[in-house]
Point group: none
DNA sequence: TATGAATGAGTCTTCATTCAT
DNA sequence: CATGAATGAAGACTCATTCAT
C-alpha cells in the first residue's frame, strides 16, 4: 500500500508506474549485482532476494541482460530526477544570499548524500557500463549532460559575477566532479587511509582547496 | 632467452622469476580481463590469446581465480616498482631547482603516462577488487601505502618550506590523487565531454587550480 | 447457442456433447499440433489460438497430454463417422449400376477429399501415435477396423461377382490404401516431383493401374 | 579398431571420416529421436545412450538442432550410397537375363531390407522433416532425385522394350514407391491387420498386382 | 612439460500447471 | 467458471577443470 502510494507520488502518473513485483526484482538485482557484479550474479540469487520464483524474473525481463538495462530506469528515477529538480531551483536561489563557500558546501553535501543513498545502483551501472556499451550510451545521452548542465550553469554564473577565475567552464565542472568522486571513492574504498573526518568537515576542506588552492600566498606579501 | 634474461634483470633474483609461459598467460589474462571483466572472461579465450593450450593455464595457476590474484605480481612489478624507484629520487632532487608548478606538472604527467601504459592491468585489478576482497588486501597493504608515502613526503616538504598551506597532509595528497584520477577516468570514459586539450595542457590547468583555486581573489586588480 | 444445437444434432446425445469452449480448444490444438508437433507445441499458443486464457485449457484437460488424447474424439466425429455412414450405403448401391472404374474413382476421390479436409487432425494423430502408444490403441480398435470393414466388404463383393482376381481380400484392401496414401503423402510432401495432374486425373490413373497393372499384355496388338 | 577400419572402408578417404565419438553420438541420437521424437528427446538421454558426458555432445554439435541436421550425413552414407551404388549396376545387368517379376521382386526385397535396416534413421529424418524445413530441403535435393533417377530409368527401359504400358514414367515410379511404403508402414504399424505372410511372399503378391492389376481379365474371353 | 578432448556441475531460460481473484 | 500471474521443475548449453597421452 505505502509502497504503491509512494511510487505513484514519485511518478506522478500511472503511465510510468512500474509493477510492484518488477520493482522488487529490480531492487534485488541492484543489491546482488552491486555485490557480485553482473556476470558473477546468479538469477537464482536475485529471485531469492526478491522473494519471487526464478521464473518470475523472466516474466518481467526477457533475459538476465535486460535486468541490467532495466536498471537504467530506476537510475534516472531515483538518482537523476531528484538531482535536477531540487538543485536547479535551490542552488540558484540561495546563491545570491549566501557566500560561495556555503553554497558549494551545501551543494557537495547534498550530492554526496544523494550518491551515497544510491551507491549500489550507481556503482553497478557505472562498473557494468565499462563492459556493456548499451549501458554507456544512455549515460552519455542522459546522465552526463544533465549533470553538466547543472554544474556548467552554476560555474558560468560565478564566472560572470567575478567570483571565479576565467578558467574553461568545463574544466571547473570537471574539477568539482573529480574532487567529489575522488573523495567518495577513496574514503569508502580505503577508509583507513582517506577518511579523515566526518563528511561535513571533509567537504568544507575540499571546497576550501577548490576555491583557494593549496599554495601559500601569504608569504608573497 | 632474451625475455628470460630481461626478466631476471628486472627481478634481480631467481626466486621471483616468472616462467616465460606464465608471463605470457598473465599478459593474456590482463588483456582479456580488462575487456570482459573477470567473470565475463573465458579461460579458453585467455589460452588462445596467450597461444597456449587451455590445460597449460592450469599448470601454472590452480584455478581461474588464481590468475586474477596472480595479476598482483605484475601489478607491483610493472606499475608499483617504477612508480617508487624513479620518483623518490628524481622528484625530490629537482624539487629544489624548479618552480613548484613545473615539478607538479612533471609529476602528474609522469604518473599519467605510467597509469595509461598500465591501464588494462590497473583497471582490472581495481574493478575486480570491488568484488574480491583478497585483491583489496594487498592493495591496501602494498600499493596505497607506497603511493601515499611518496605523495605525503612530497607534500610535507612543501608544507615545511612554506610553499603549501597548512592543510592536513593526507588531505592534500588525496586531492592530488582525486584530480589525477578524475581527469583520467572522466576524459577516457567520456572523451566527448571532458577531453578538452592534449594531456600536457590539461595537466597544467589541473596543477594551476590545485595550487591557486578557482576563486578570484581580486588581488589582480 | 447455434453451435450447441448443431453439436447436439451431430452427436445425437447429450452425453457425448462437447462444450463450446472445449471444442474451440481442441480445434486450436489440432492446428498447433499439426504445425509444430505435440512436443513442439506450447499450451500458451494453443490458448491464444483458441482465444481463451491458458488456465482455461486445464479446466477442460487435466494435462497437455490429455489434449492429444482428446483429439481422438474429434477424429472419430469428424473423420470416421462420415467415412462410414456415407460410404456403406452409397458405394454399395451404386456399385451395381456403374462400371468398377467409375465407382473406384468416386470412392478414391471421396476418401481423398475427406482426408484432405481433415489433414491436420489425421496427420497429428498418426504422427503422434508413433510416439504415444495410448493413441495407437484406439486407432487399432476403432479406426482401422472401420476402414477395413468397408474396404474388405467392397473387395469381397467384387471377388464374388468375378470382377476381381482371387487375391487375398486384405491384400487388395491394403493395396488400395497404399495407393491412396502414397499418392497423398508423396504429392503433398514433394509436389515438385509427384504432383503430375489435378487430383481427378491422378486418381483415374491410379485406379487404372490398380485394376490393370502396368504390364503390357500384348493383347492390344 | 574394427570400427575405425570399417569406417575408413566405407568412406574410402580420411577426409569424410567422422570422429569415432561423433559417430557414437549420432547413433545414439538416431535411437533416441526415433523413440521419442526430436522435441521429446533429452540431450541427457542421448549422452547416456552414447556413453559420453552431456557436454561432449555440444563439443561436436553446437546445438541439439544440429544433431538432427547431422543425421542427414549418416542418412546419405548408410542409406543412400548403398541404394545407388549397388542397384545401378545389379538391376540393369540382371534385367536382361531374368523375368520382370523376378527382378522386381528382388528389387523390392532389397529395398525393403535396406529400409528396415535403417528404419530408425529414416523414420526420424522423415518425421522431423515435417516440422523442420531445413531437413526437407536436402531430402528434396539429394534423396528423392537419387531414388527417382534409379526408378525412372528402370521404368523407362521397360517401357522402351515394351514390357510396360505407356503410363507416365513418374506415375509408375510413384506407384512402386507407394506400394512398398504402404506395405512397410501398414504391416509394421498394424501388423495384426496387414502382416499376412513373410516378406518374400508379400512382395511377390505386391509385384503381381503391380504388374497385372486386380481385375479379372480371364472371364472377358 | 604441454596438450586438448572429455567432463559434469552449474547456468539461464522455458513452459506446463496451479490458484487466488 | 474463467483468468493470467506466479511457480519451479526440468531442459539445453557453458565452461572451468582434469587427465591420458
Amino acid at each position: 500500500m505505502k509502497e504503491k502510494d509512494l511510487n505513484e507520488l514519485i511518478e506522478g502518473s500511472n503511465e510510468e508506474q512500474i509493477a510492484e513485483k518488477k520493482l522488487k526484482i529490480l531492487e534485488a538485482a541492484i543489491k546482488v549485482f552491486s555485490e557480485k557484479g553482473f556476470e558473477g550474479s546468479r538469477t537464482s540469487e536475485i529471485a531469492k532476494e526478491a522473494e519471487v520464483a526464478e521464473g518470475t524474473i523472466f516474466k518481467y525481463f526477457k533475459t538476465k541482460k535486460d535486468l541490467l538495462s532495466g536498471l537504467l530506469i530506476p537510475l534516472s528515477i531515483k538518482f537523476l530526477r531528484p538531482l535536477i529538480m531540487k538543485s536547479a531551483e535551490d542552488i540558484l536561489k540561495k546563491d545570491k544570499e549566501n557566500a560561495t563557500e556555503e553554497i558549494l558546501k551545501e551543494l557537495f553535501l547534498d550530492r554526496l548524500s544523494l550518491i551515497k543513498k544510491n551507491m549500489p545502483l550507481i556503482k553497478t551501472v557505472l562498473v557494468e557500463a565499462i563492459y556493456h556499451d548499451e549501458l554507456l550510451e544512455p549515460i552519455k545521452e542522459q546522465v552526463v549532460p544533465q549533470v553538466l548542465q547543472l554544474l556548467d550553469s552554476y560555474v558560468d554564473s560565478h564566472k560572470q559575477n567575478g567570483d571565479f577565475n576565467d578558467y574553461n567552464t568545463r574544466l571547473i565542472s570537471r574539477t568539482m566532479m573529480s574532487l567529489l568522486m575522488g573523495y567518495i571513492v577513496l574514503s569508502s574504498v580505503f577508509p583507513e587511509f582517506f577518511s579523515l573526518n566526518e563528511d561535513e568537515k571533509e567537504i568544507e576542506s575540499i571546497v576550501d582547496i577548490f576555491l583557494n588552492g593549496v599554495k601559500n600566498k601569504g608569504e608573497q606579501i
